[in-house]
Every structure is written in C-alpha cells, then in structure tokens.
C-alpha cells in the first residue's frame, strides 16, 4: 500500500504540474523550432471541415480511377512430396505426395464503399484458411474466418493399449512387464500417429455510429481433437498412454467505444468457456500391482472451466501533448467439476471432503499511465500497473491414494495468490531531431502466498540512446540494470515438509540482472544498407545456494540489404546466440552442478528478381538455416558430459514465375526442408530400453523432403 500511495501521489503531482505547464504552453502558438512544422489540416477534424469546403469545392478528381468492382485471383496448385513425411505436415498439412489444392482471393468493391472480400488458402489440405469480410467503409464490418491448424507430433507410435470408450485396455494375453523374462514383442501392438487438429472459427461484427459510438462483438470457437502423448506413474513404474483429445473453447469479447473530443472510453466484457469431452480416462496397469485391486487406474483430464473479465479503459488527451490513461479490470476464473474418487481400487475407497471442487480465482488489474510532451525535445511518461490473482477456492484436507496402492499423508490443497505492482518513470529527451536519449527508473514488487509467503522487490534503471548521423549511421544502445531482493520465505502451511532454506525458486529468488544491446546500421550507398547488432543478458541468482545459479544469454549478428538493381533485391542475415545456465543440486549442500550450454546459429538469405532473363520471368529464392546444439555437463565432482542434443532446421525455397499473359501466370516452386534432431533421451529409447518404463517405441524427429508445387494463377 505504501508503494501504491507513493505511486499515485507521484503521478498526480506530475499530472497537476504538467497540466499547468501544458495549459500555459497551449495558449501560445507553437513553431517546432528545429524541425519542419506540418500544420496539417487534418490535425483537427473540426478545423478541417470548416476549411475544407472552400478549398475542395471545385475538385472533380477526374484522374481518380473508379474502384475495380470485382478483382482477385484463383490459384490451382499441384504439389508433389518426395516422401510421405508426417513431420512435414506439422502446421503445413502436407504429408503425402500428390496433392491438389486451391487458393483464391476475391474482392468486391462499389463506388459507394460497400465491399466484400473472400480469401481461401490451401483448400484441399489440412491447413485450410478461409476468411471473408463484408462491410461498408466507415459504417460497419462483419468478418468470418475459419482456420485449420494441424499439429503433428510423432508417426507410427506403438502401444499395447486398445481404446474402449473411455478406457485403455490391454490384450487378454498381456504379461506384466516386470514379470517378463524375454524382451517385449511389439508386432501385434496398435500403431497410431500422435497429433492434434485445431479448428478455429471466428466471427466479428463492428459498427460505427454517427454518435461517437462504436460497437464490436468478437466470437471465437476453438476445437482440438486428436491423440496426445501422455504418461502415468504406478509406484516405481510409468507407462505412456495415448490420450484422446476432444476439447473446445468458446470466447466472446463485446466492446463499446465512446469518443467525445479528446475523451475515449472503452468498456468490454470477455467470456471464455472451456469444455472437455472427457473428464478422465481409465487404464489397465501394464505392471504387476503391489496390492490387490490396483490393476486399474484413473487419471484426470483437464477440467471444464470458464472465465470472464470486465474491462474499462479511459483515455483522455488533456492537451495535444499530454494524455492520461486509466484502466481497471476485474474478472474470475472458475471450475466446478465433480471430483473423481481417490482411487479405482475398491479396497481403498474413502469418502471425499466434498463432491466437487468449487475453484474460484478473482483477478484484478489496474493501470494508471500518464504521458506528457512538454516541448519538442522533452517528454515524460509515468506508469503504474497492478495485477492480482486471488485464489478464493475452498481448502480441504485430502487423503490421496498413491498409485491406487496405499494412503499417503493427508494433505490440504494449496491456494496460490499473487500480487504484482510496478511503477516506472521515464524521461525522453530528443536533443536533436533524430537523436533521442531516455532514462527509466522502475520498481516492481511481487508477493506470493502459497505454501510460504514470498516477497520480492525488483528495482532498476534502463537507459537508451538513439543516434543518427548526417552520414546515415544509426546507432541504438540500450542498457539496464535490475536488482531483485527477496525476503526469506515465511512459512504458511504446517502440513507440508519444510522447504530447503538453501533453495529459492528462481522465479522468486534474489537476482541481479544486467542487459545491454547495441545496433549500428549504415546506408553504405543508396542501394546498400548494412547493420551489426549484439546483445547480452545476464541473470545471477547469488543468494541461493541450490537451484538455478545463473542464466546468461548472448547474441550477435549482421544484416545486409542490397537493392542490386531496380528489379532485384538481396538481403541476408547471420546471427549467433549462446545461452548458458548453471544449476546446483543436492539435499543439504551442493554436491553436483549441471552446466547447460546452448548455441543457435541462424542464417537467412532472400533474393528477389522481378525480371529474370525476360520481363515475363521472375525468380525468388529464400534459404534459412537454424542450427542449434545443446550440451549438459554434470560435475559430481568429476566432469560427466551428456551427449549433445542437436537440432538443425534448414529450409530452401526457390520459386519461378512466368507471366503467360496479363491474366495468367504459371509458378513452379521447389522447397527443400531438413530437420535433424539428435536427442539421446528420445532417439534410442524403445519399449525395452528402460525396465520400468513402457514407451511408445523408439521415435525419430529426422526428416528430409523435397517438395515441388506447380501452380497456375488466373488474375481478374
């Protein structure tokens, strides 16, 4: 509260002061001294109207063409894929060779400003995109969009489980995995692909009245269906389970805008409702049970839930150079699903403390922002933000049944509350028309209630410098230093074992953060622009003896853009990023350390030739390489290095087009894509690798494809 009061007092003082200055300032006609002033007729709509009549009374606009009533194109494509590659279909929807798909764009526009637009992309593929808009410019707009996004995870996974309604059952002849003496034989197992198809439907309506009011209603329905990879534990064993997904989310966002001179008010209501077809799934235990009755288990799916939020935004432009923005929102997130029984084991039945868990989280968000441009050189911004997550759910004492085998210690559900506050004050000083310096003082705090009470205070300073020389050199430097203090956690719950005082979770731990970024760009001549950039970000968690110790990130690179000729452009970039982190772990003192080093090299090149060989030929080439590696070294104290995890993603695109006549164009596109993903944790882990783990078999993320598309476009 102390900070809140201080913030509000500071902002109000500034507001009062700035208003005084700005009012005085507004009384005097201004000529921005060092810059060319543009006293635009549009800068005030009222003055525009009064001045416009005599000015444009005789303007006929004879040279202005009438809008083309009907325009657009239709593109028919035939694609050929060198191989059936499931991963290539991730997002693209292209996963088998020989596919025909269609794209079209149709625009209808009348002279009166009525319009209709239709866009169809990838009709015939699983990545269909359909969008249309109807409206009357300046009056209303209705839009409709439907999108399919295929998410492909893994192909040809193996599982002994058969799906029977809401239950995963094992074959009758199943022999428990921990009682086998011979390796598992998978020839009779079910093969399936894991992946989820997203279908997104959006409808929106906007209406602009003449009485300074706008209405907007947006509706969105998102449906996800498919099979996800999941897993569940049985004491010391674990099994991978194919989880059938059938979920949908509906959202409505209704907005009302009111504008009167320099005041604008926006009131909105947001509602989101998530529903899951399955509340849980039962599965047979592929391992032998330690106790009778634990042959079948149940895991919970994500519960149905809903959330709403009411938001009010008020923006007031006090004077041309000053504005005040107020924002207040409150909402709720709720879930009231019936609770599943503690266990499927009939021998371990016990009554629940309540039939359902009426979970309720109240959210409050406030913002107060003030911006004032005191002169052409100096401006100021103050910002106060407040976010609260207040978990108002009930607390009950549960007696969990561990792996349907034995009762664990009674335990109360923990309610996590979070409160975040932030205050920042920034001054921008433009000492020359294209040179600007800024400095920001910022202070934030986060209080979290859960098992313990944690409070962190983060304060620091950010400076930036934007310079541009007459020779065309642009320099941008940003630097920041933040220090996060963390009080020692105050214990709230007595039911759980004590947290190790040597360990502070990294999102709540004391931390020093330094950041620096620099970018220099120069137009070497009228055709060539080059830039180099570099950045570093360091987070050191010095007060914590265990857990994350530091996390450093460096990246540097260069860009080049070259207008080779009037019809040819070339651009390229190269960047290296390095991420290092260190964590220490053990029970009571740091016995071992893991150091992770990740490096990602990125290269991109784009060449566009609008006229190649002939004015009817055009060529476009794009190459992108992202080459990443990640290695972990364990010090125990002897160094033990885990294999590197490598991930190389390469894409090469070559596109030719030939204008057969003004209406018809033919295109030939070649795409090469390669993903190599060497991961020791996944690549060689089949069903027999780990005794107490039933996997989906050895999977690989490698693929390499060549994809050709032949297209014909008719323009009308």
């Amino acid at each position: 509260m102390k900070h809140l009061s201080l913030s509000i007092i500071s902002i109000l003082t500034l507001l009062a002061f700035s208003l005084g200055v700005s009012f005085a300032y507004a009384d005097v006609p201004v000529n921005e001294s060092e810059e060319q002033s543009i006293a635009s007729p549009t800068s005030s709509s009222a003055s525009t109207l009064t001045e416009a009549k005599p000015i444009n009374a005789d303007w006929l606009c004879e040279y202005c063409p009438k809008p083309k009533t009907l325009s657009g194109n239709v593109q028919v494509n035939f694609g050929y894929l060198s191989d059936d590659v499931y991963h290539f279909g991730h997002y693209s929807g292209i996963e088998s060779n020989g596919n025909l798909f269609l794209s079209t764009k149709v625009n209808y526009l009348t002279e009166q400003g009525n319009y209709a637009k239709l866009l169809v992309d990838n009709a015939g593929l699983d990545s269909l995109n359909l969008a249309s808009k109807l409206g009357y410019y300046g009056h209303y707009q209705f839009s409709f969009a439907y999108q399919e996004i295929p998410l492909r995870q893994n192909q040809a996974l193996l599982t002994p489980f058969q799906q029977q309604n809401n239950t995963l059952v094992l074959p009758d002849s199943w022999q428990y995995l921990d009682q086998r003496t011979t390796p598992l034989e998978t020839t009779t197992w079910r093969q399936f692909n894991s992946g989820v198809d997203w279908q997104k439907l959006s409808l929106s309506w906007r209406y602009f009245t003449d009485q300074n009011l706008d209405y907007a209603i947006n509706y969105q329905k998102l449906k996800k269906s498919g099979i996800e990879q999941s897993s569940a534990a049985q004491i010391l064993n674990a099994s991978y389970l194919p989880l059938v997904i059938d979920e949908q989310t509906e959202q409505i966002d209704a907005q009302l805008n009111y504008q009167l001179n320099d005041l604008s008010i926006n009131l909105s209501y947001f509602l989101s409702r998530f529903s899951n077809e399955y509340q849980s799934i039962h599965y047979e235990n592929p391992f032998s049970s330690y106790v009778a009755g634990a042959e079948m288990a149940e895991i919970a799916h994500d519960p149905d839930n809903h959330a709403y939020k009411v938001r009010l935004k008020v923006n007031y432009q006090l004077l041309p150079g000053s504005s005040l923005k107020l924002y207040a929102a409150f909402g709720q997130m709720r879930q009231n699903n019936s609770l599943l029984p503690y266990s499927s084991n009939a021998l371990l039945q016990q009554s629940l403390p309540n039939d359902s868990f009426d979970a309720k989280i109240a959210t409050s968000d406030y913002a107060l922002r003030f911006y004032s441009r005191w002169s052409s050189s100096l401006s100021f911004r103050a910002k106060y933000l407040f976010n609260q997550r207040d978990n108002q759910s009930q607390q009950y004492l549960f007696t969990p049944v561990f792996s349907d085998t034995y009762f664990a210690q009674p335990q109360q559900n923990t309610l996590y509350d979070t409160k975040k506050e932030q205050l920042s004050l920034t001054t921008f000083w433009r000492f020359l028309p294209s040179q600007q310096a800024s400095i920001e003082f910022s202070k934030s705090s986060k209080t979290e209630h859960g098992i313990s009470k944690h409070k962190t205070n983060n304060h620091g300073v950010t400076g930036s410098l934007l310079l541009q020389s007459e020779a065309g050199v642009q320099l941008t430097i940003r630097a920041s230093h933040f220090n996060r203090d963390a009080d020692l956690p105050m214990r709230l719950s007595t039911q759980l074992s004590d947290e190790n005082p040597l360990l502070q979770r990294y999102n709540l731990a004391a931390r020093v953060q330094n950041k620096l970024s620099l970018q220099v760009g120069k137009a070497l001549n009228e055709q060539l622009y080059a830039s180099v950039s570099g950045a570093l970000s360091k987070q050191n968690y010095q007060a914590s003896s265990l857990g994350l110790q530091h996390n450093h990130n460096y990246h540097y690179g260069a860009d080049l853009s070259w207008q080779v000729s009037e019809k040819t452009t070339l651009s390229t970039y190269y960047q290296i990023e390095e991420i290092t982190s260190q964590a220490k772990a053990s029970d009571n003192e740091a016995l071992w350390t893991n150091d992770t080093k990740e490096q990602v090299d990125s290269f991109g090149l784009t060449l566009d030739i609008k006229e190649w060989l002939d004015e009817k030929f055009a060529l476009s080439l794009q190459a992108i390489i992202s080459d990443g590696s990640s290695a972990t070294t364990i010090s125990t104290p002897s160094q033990d290095k885990l294999p590197e995890v490598n991930s190389v993603w390469q894409q090469f695109n070559l596109k030719f087009s030939y204008q057969i006549n003004p209406q018809i164009q033919a295109q030939l596109q070649y795409q090469h894509q390669r993903l190599e993903n060497d991961d020791f944790a996944v690549d060689y882990v089949d069903v027999n690798t780990v005794d107490n783990l039933l996997t989906f078999g050895a999977v690989s993320h490698h693929y390499q494809v060549n994809y050709f598309v032949l297209g014909l476009t008719y323009q009308f």
């Binding site: 543009i38 444009n56 959330a307 879930q335 600007q436 003082f441 190790n500 990602v600 992202s626 944790a681």
Partner: protein, 328 residues
C-alpha cells in the same frame, strides 16, 4: 561492477525526487523556450484541382505507384471521413497543402519544394507524422497511440503500415513476422527454431499475442498478463486446478520461450534440468542424472523419454484428489 550496479539500483528511487525536480526544471525551461518562439504566419496554399493536380505526375508508372489507394477505404468517395470523401482534402489531407510543390516548370538545377512524404528524409518529427493519421484513427480507445512504447521510440504509423495499396500487408498475419522482425530480430530468428508457434507458416501472427499500438501490460500483450494471453488458445491450462503448480500460476514464461526454442514444446531448458532449477532438495530429483543413465547402460526413467514428466505428467496442474504430486 555488480556491486556498483546494485548500489545504483537501490538508490535509484532515493534519487527519484531529485530526478523529478530536475525533470520539472527542464520542463519549465523548455516551456519558456517554446513561449519565446515567434508564431508561424505562413499561409497554406492548397492545389487548385486537388488530386487531379497530383495524379498528373504520381500515377501508376511513377517510382511510387499510388493508384491502388482507390481500391481501399482511404480512396473510397462515400466512406465517412475518408480523404477522398466529399469533405476530404484528397492527397493533401495527409501530404499537406501542395504549396510550391506543384509549380509546373522548374528551372535547371531546381528541385521541387518538399512535401510531407512520410519518409526518413523529410525531417519531420515522428509524432507529427503520426498525428496526421491519428486525426482520424484516434477514435478507438484500444489504439490510443500517445505514450505507447512504439510511439516513444519514434516510430510512425507508416513504419509498419502502407496506404497506397488495396490491402495493407501488415494486416495479413503471414506478413507480420517479417515486418515486425525488421526491428525485433531476435524474436524473428526464434520463430525459425525447431519448436515454435505457427509463425513462419503464417497461421499465427505477432498480433495474436501483441497489441502494437498500446497495451496496459508489459511487452504490449493483448491481455493483462502473460498467462491470460496464453489461455486465449490454451484454455485447458487455465484451471483453476485442485493441485496447482506454483510457477505455472505465476507465468508460463518461467518454463516456456514463446517465440521459439531449440528444446521440445518451446521449453527454455530440457527436463530434468529445467525441473531441477527449483526441485533439488527432496527425494529423487537430487540425483545427478549423468551419462551412466543413458541407454545401453543403466538406463534411467528419470533422465530418458519424458524424464520427470514420465510420472509427473500433470505438470500444469491436476484435478484428481490423489494428484498432489501432479501425477494423475
């Protein structure tokens, strides 16, 4: 260096009263400077024929073709408040009064008087250029530009938007990665990593998560918090769950890198090492999972496959009364 930085950070709010006083003094100084500047008495000269004057030179064959504007809202004659409506000043509504620019004949060596060209060379302050667009587009409170992060960093509307086109490319999601990536280079490159959102395929755009004109949250997010932004598509993670996982309730970014990662599922680090950044004091997590736990040796379920998630699969929260360990 670090101690010095800490001192600076600790004292920055002690310094802030001095800083504020200094700011006030500077404000007064600059305001007085503004008061003493004589007013401009220049009279603006509009063209005699409006757009007909301009289009004689600036047609579709010129270096900067403009005719496509007539297939857009800006070029519509009947559209309310549009530059080409009956009350609008056509080209001069945005580019300013033509003045001496339209002089028919130039002497040798003479160049045309400049107009507001919305280019980097026109030496006009960014906010003044944006003010031209805002005189019509200020209406929506959701797009209140003044004081926003992009505005204070000297960006103008035309840095992202194109006007003389039938459809502004930035409004198409598939173009946003390239356009926003011109400045936000690192975010663009992250989208080209092995695990990403569908940004490079164009099914998602930057504007699905960010509100470039203004926002009340950090990083110009469309919702009030990181989690609420993610819940727009990942509502199944919203819960509230019976058994919550503390870092999940705080921020999805504690474990995920939204723009793209080299690790699966956009994680910042791979399990078990990501989990061990916090879980290192109780039970099996304190083992050092090294090369002895690899396949062909004493393969360990704690290191391989889904690692910690082999058992703790409900890492985002569990609604099972026996799910306190996020296992079911």
């Amino acid at each position: 260096m670090s101690k010095c930085g800490q001192k600076l950070a600790k004292t920055c709010f002690l310094v802030s009263p001095i800083y504020l006083t200094l700011t006030f003094c500077l404000a007064i100084f600059y305001s007085n400077l503004a008061f003493s500047t004589p007013a401009s008495s220049e009279i603006e000269h509009y063209s005699k024929d409006g757009a007909d004057t301009c289009l004689q030179c600036h047609d579709q064959t010129s270096n900067f073709p403009v005719m496509a504007i007539f297939n857009s809202a800006h070029g519509s004659k009947d559209s309310k408040n549009a530059p080409f409506s009956t009350t609008g000043l056509q080209c001069e509504a945005c580019h300013g009064a033509v003045g001496e620019h339209a002089v028919k004949r130039l002497r040798k060596g003479e160049s045309r008087a400049p107009m507001i060209a919305f280019s980097a060379q026109d030496n006009i302050a960014a906010e003044e250029k944006s003010a031209i667009c805002l005189s019509c587009h200020q209406k929506s409170a959701a797009t209140h530009w003044q004081g926003s992060s992009h505005q204070v960093n000297n960006l103008t509307c035309n840095d992202c938007h194109q006007i003389h086109v039938s459809e502004d490319p930035i409004l198409t999601k598939s173009n946003q990665l390239e356009q926003c990536g011109q400045c936000h280079k690192n975010a663009k490159l992250m989208a080209h990593r092995a695990s990403t959102h569908p940004l490079r395929s164009g099914q998602m755009g930057c504007s699905d998560c960010h509100q470039p004109h203004d926002s009340n949250s950090d990083n110009l997010l469309i919702a009030d918090t990181v989690n609420e932004t993610c819940f727009q598509c990942h509502a199944e993670k919203r819960g509230p769950f019976l058994w919550e996982h503390e870092p999940v309730t705080d921020s999805c970014l504690n474990c995920h890198q939204a723009h793209g990662s080299n690790q699966a599922n956009l994680l910042t680090q791979r399990a078990p090492y990501l989990c061990q950044n916090c879980h290192s004091s109780q039970g099996h997590p304190s083992f050092s999972f090294g090369s002895s736990n690899l396949p062909q040796q004493s393969s360990s379920a704690f290191l391989l496959g889904r690692s910690c998630n082999n058992c703790h699969s409900k890492v985002h929260g569990s609604n099972h009364p026996s799910g306190s360990q996020l296992q079911r």
